[in-house]
Every structure is written in C-alpha cells, then in structure tokens.
C-alpha cells in the first residue's frame, strides 16, 4: 500500500517568489496583456486519478516531471491544486469535489486512544488508493480516510464524536472559483456511461461550465490495444468527450500516438518514430514504451512532459494562461 496522499494538500509548490523584478515594467501594454494576462490568475484544480498525480513521472527523465509542477510554473501567480489520487474511480472524484454527499454511519467504537471511527457510506462507494478527503460530517470537521482499505473518519477536535451524518468535502470550497482540469474515469473505463456521466457532472459544476473546464482524454496502455474491451471503451469515451467539449477536450491518445504529438518539442530529442518499439506500439494502437513507466500503466517523465506541453498550449489558446 503506498503512503497516504492527503488530497487536501495542494501538490503545487509554494507561492511564487518574485525574482528580481525590474523596477519599471518592460514591454508594452499590448505585449504584456497577450503574454501575461491578468485573467490568468484564477486558481486551477486538477482532478482525477494516478495520471493526474503524475505517478511514473520520476522515471526516465534526468529530473522528475510532474504535470502539476509544470502548471505551477506556467500559471504563476495562480495557485494550482493537485487533487489527483491514484487508483481512484470517477465516483471518488465526485465525492472529493463535493458533488456526492453520502451519509456516513459509524460501524464501530473509536480506535483506542484516538477519535478515529470506522464508517460506511450509504452510496456504497468503497475506498480506493491513498484517498484522504478533508470535510465535515454535519458540521464536525475532520478527515475521511480510505487509505487503509476501509473508510474511517477522524474529527479534527479529538473531543468530538459522530454517530452518523452527511459528509461534505471541504475541497468543494476550493473548487468553487477555480478552473478545472479533469482526467478521470480510466479506472472504471469499462463503465462507459458512468465515466461520461461523472465527467459531465464535474463539467456542469464549474462556475461557467462552457469556459472553466479542460477535459483530458484517456490513453491506451499495453493492456488497452486496439480491439480489446478497454481499448474500445477508451476510444468510445474519447470520441464522445471530443464531441461534447470541443476545444475544451484534449485528445491525449492522439497526442501520444500521432505523428505531430510524437514530434512535439519536448519529445524531439527522443526521435521516437525512428524506434522499432514505437512503430510496434503504434501498430497496436498503444502509447510507445519509451513514454511509459516501468509499471506499464503510467506515463514516465517524458510522457508527462508531452502532456504538459499539450495542456499549456491548449490553455494558452483558451486564454487561461
């Protein structure tokens, strides 16, 4: 079991430190407005599972490449909140976003010496991965923790107890005024309808739905080759989300298997298309192994670099940056 990853703690680095700013503004009003617009100061929240938390990003590149860290650089001084949690499904993202507010029921006494109690959710959703969500049960603040394989709730104030109540995620407040990037649903991709529905709920929850969300498409691992059940599901979800969201959908499968994407600036040094392993992968409709971490299911540093490149370019076209 990996170490718990507190969902509440932004993965982004600390607030930007001005580095010797000039005493007077350089450039012109026009160039400053185009290249560093004031509209780019809204925070961003990144929602999803392991890809969104850049698992595998420490491999293959000389330095770790994590998407949320690159976006922190891109979007400064805006804050980036990285809420990707490995192994989670799209339903967990709804819970973290505060769109699902299940009723918790305590199923046992507090763990000895603590206020932590085991709970169940009436939605039936089970815990996945290192998920930990700050929130409150009927006003009692605490942490809903699924990282041990069962749900538990620990009140912030150890003198308080709960029996049952409605859980509401505190991340909802952070998300309220944020733009959002969604990369969710791969871990339940065979439920095509559910993955599409949950993503749509996240889209609809944005302050200005038609403008505030960027949906990242899914990509095919070795286990999702053309003709497989999961490969077909990925293709179906990508096609539908492309249709629904237009410029606010970024086709990651096309990025990582298409000629233009594999030639993009950050990947140019790899000469990917000259590699036999790349050609073999493309023949099977999967992402080339030189972009994949050793676990064969996550992008490595190069893969994350390509995704960062594409995200930043699209965000600049959307005037987010």
């Amino acid at each position: 079991m990996p170490a718990p990853q507190p969902a509440a703690v932004p993965a982004a680095p600390a607030a930007p430190l001005p580095a010797s700013p000039p005493s007077t503004a350089t450039g012109t009003a026009a160039s400053r407005r185009l290249l560093h617009p004031e509209v780019g100061t809204r925070p961003m929240t990144l929602w999803g599972s392991s890809s969104m938390s850049s698992e595998g990003g420490v491999e293959s590149t000389p330095r770790p490449i994590r998407i949320h860290e690159h976006l922190s650089l891109s979007a400064a001084p805006a804050t980036i909140h990285g809420f990707g949690v490995g192994a989670t499904q799209s339903a967990h993202t709804l819970l973290m976003r505060g769109l699902d507010t299940p009723r918790l029921t305590v199923v046992g006494p507090p763990r000895e010496g603590t206020s932590r109690v085991e709970v169940t959710l009436d939605s039936g959703l089970g815990p996945r991965g290192p998920i930990r969500i700050p929130g409150a049960v009927d006003g009692t603040a605490g942490i809903l923790d699924g990282s041990s394989g069962t749900w538990s709730f620990t009140p912030e104030d150890a003198t308080l107890t709960i029996d049952h109540g409605i859980f509401t995620s505190a991340l909802a407040e952070i998300a309220t005024d944020s733009r959002q990037v969604l990369w969710m649903g791969k871990n339940n991709i065979l439920d095509v309808t559910g993955a599409l529905h949950d993503t749509q709920r996240m889209w609809d929850a944005a302050a200005t739905p038609e403008a505030d969300t960027l949906v990242l498409g899914q990509w095919c691992t070795e286990f999702d080759e053309t003709g497989s059940a999961t490969g077909d599901a990925v293709a179906t979800v990508n096609a539908e989300q492309s249709r629904r969201y237009g410029d606010h959908f970024l086709d990651i499968q096309e990025l990582l298997t298409g000629q233009e994407g594999l030639h993009c600036s950050p990947l140019a040094p790899l000469a990917l298309l000259d590699q036999a392993t790349t050609q073999d992968a493309l023949g099977r409709g999967v992402v080339p192994p030189l972009l994949i971490a050793s676990d064969r299911i996550h992008l490595n540093g190069w893969g994350n670099l390509a995704v960062s490149w594409a995200i930043v370019r699209r965000m600049r076209e959307l005037q987010w940056l």
Binding site: P16, P21, S31, R33, L35, S74, A76, E260, P269
Partner: protein, 296 residues
Amino acid sequence: MALRRPAAPRLRAGSPGTHPAAPVTTTPQAPARPEPSRAAATPTSPTPPVPARRGPGRRAVLLAGAATAAITGAVSAGALLSRDDSGARAASSNGGGPGSAPATEAFSDVPDDAEGLEAMRWADATGVQPALTDARYSPDAVITRGDVALALHRFAGAPAVPVDGAPAPIADLGEDPRRTPALLWLHGRGALWGDAALKVHPDDPATRDCAATMLTALLRPALAGFGVTWDPSTAASAPQDVEPWSALADAIWLEAAGLAPASLTASAGTGDAHVTRADLAVMLHRANSVISDALA
C-alpha cells in the same frame, strides 16, 4: 534588411479577438510605446516610438573605451544585457553598424538609414532589449538562446516566476538573477524545451531555427486565442511538404505573420544562421504591432 508586408491574419468569427474581453492593462511605470494602429499590420512602418531615456544609472556603468575595445568575442555571453544589468559585456564591442552612414542621434553605432533603427529604438525604450551602453546598440552582435529568453520575458513584462519550490525541470538553469527566471518562464509557457538531458543551452548562439521555434511557440497559441492565425503557405518562401512540427515550419509561420527579417526567412539561408540583436529587435517590434492589432 528588406521588409515584407505579411499576409492578412485570419480572424475567427465570434472569436475573442473580435470582442476583447478585457481592457488593455496599463502600468503607470510602463515606458512609452508605439500606439496600436491598423497600419501597424504592415511591419515596415510601425508608429515610431518616442525613445525614452532612462535615468543616470545607465551612464554610471558606461564602459571605458579601452576596455570595450579589448573584448572581441564573436558571440556575446550576454548580448542582451544593458548597462543597467552588467556594465561591460562582450557584445558591446563588436556590434558596430556599417561605417559609411552617419550614426543616429540615438546610437553611435547605428546609421540613420539602418533599416532596423526604429525597432532598435523601440527595443531600447521598452526595455525589451536595451542598448548596451548609452551610445552603442551593437546591432550586429550575435545573441544567445538565453538572450532570446530574456528578451521574450521582458516583452511579457518580466512576470515573476516561482524560482523556489518545485524542482527545476531544466538541468542547466544557472543562477543568473535575470536569465534564470526568464528561462523558467519561457519553459512554463511551453516555448523552451530541453534536450535529452533536459538542458536548454542558454549560452549557445541563437540560430534562426531556435529563435523561430521559441517565438512561434510563445506567440502562436496566444494569438490564436484571440482568433488571429496565419496560413504559413502564404509565406513567399514557403517550400512544399514542410513537416508541421519542424523548425522550418516555425520560421515559415513567422514569415507569414510578417515577423521575420529578410535575413531570417525560410529561403534566406539555413536554420543554423545566427541571430543578431538587430534581428531580434525587428522581430519583437513587428510582433508588438501584430499584437496591438490583434487586441484592438
């Protein structure tokens, strides 16, 4: 430098470019700049800026002539730095303009009939690429990749970047207090990427290809966001069958947008051609005109 009129940009119907969403940001300390003008779409005649003369700080670090003459590097180690930045830097010695025409009032090494004069005066006045001394602009000095990054960062107003916190994604970032944030900023904006070792080689000479790639990657998505695009095939020297991801394609886009000096067009030599201070001033001056039009 022969100058060409660019093809008219395409404006998407209903694009933000046709209905600006926000007023132009103004900064009280901003130096004088050319007034945005429709005529500025013709980059041969942008509205001349009023050269802003800065305070006495620049003069205080003016190089002694003998020291200046002793420095003769072919490529500047910091050709973009002004007297404010470092005082004596190599490029100040080797960038003299052609000798026959009289020097301008602004720069002793730029003749009155130099085609890039307006751009150099603009770059100096706006701080994007200031003169190296009070008297000399060093127009022919070859610049480095780091110099291009610094100029582009200043073109954007030198925004603050997080220099602490996250691990640096660039292996040869260095610790120069001006260039380091410029490199990081450009990387963050998707316009500067490393090699297989994640090195960006800021001290290497800037070539046509690398400058084209950086400028295009920085400007093209932002202008597209305002609905302004160009068809690279309209560039006069656009060859057939150019791979869209190549540096040549970026050079052709710059040409189609009217930003490339004649010496850096796709047909005017190789991608390895070095970029000078005058070249960069011209490109950014024209870019400013294009941007002003796009935001108008």
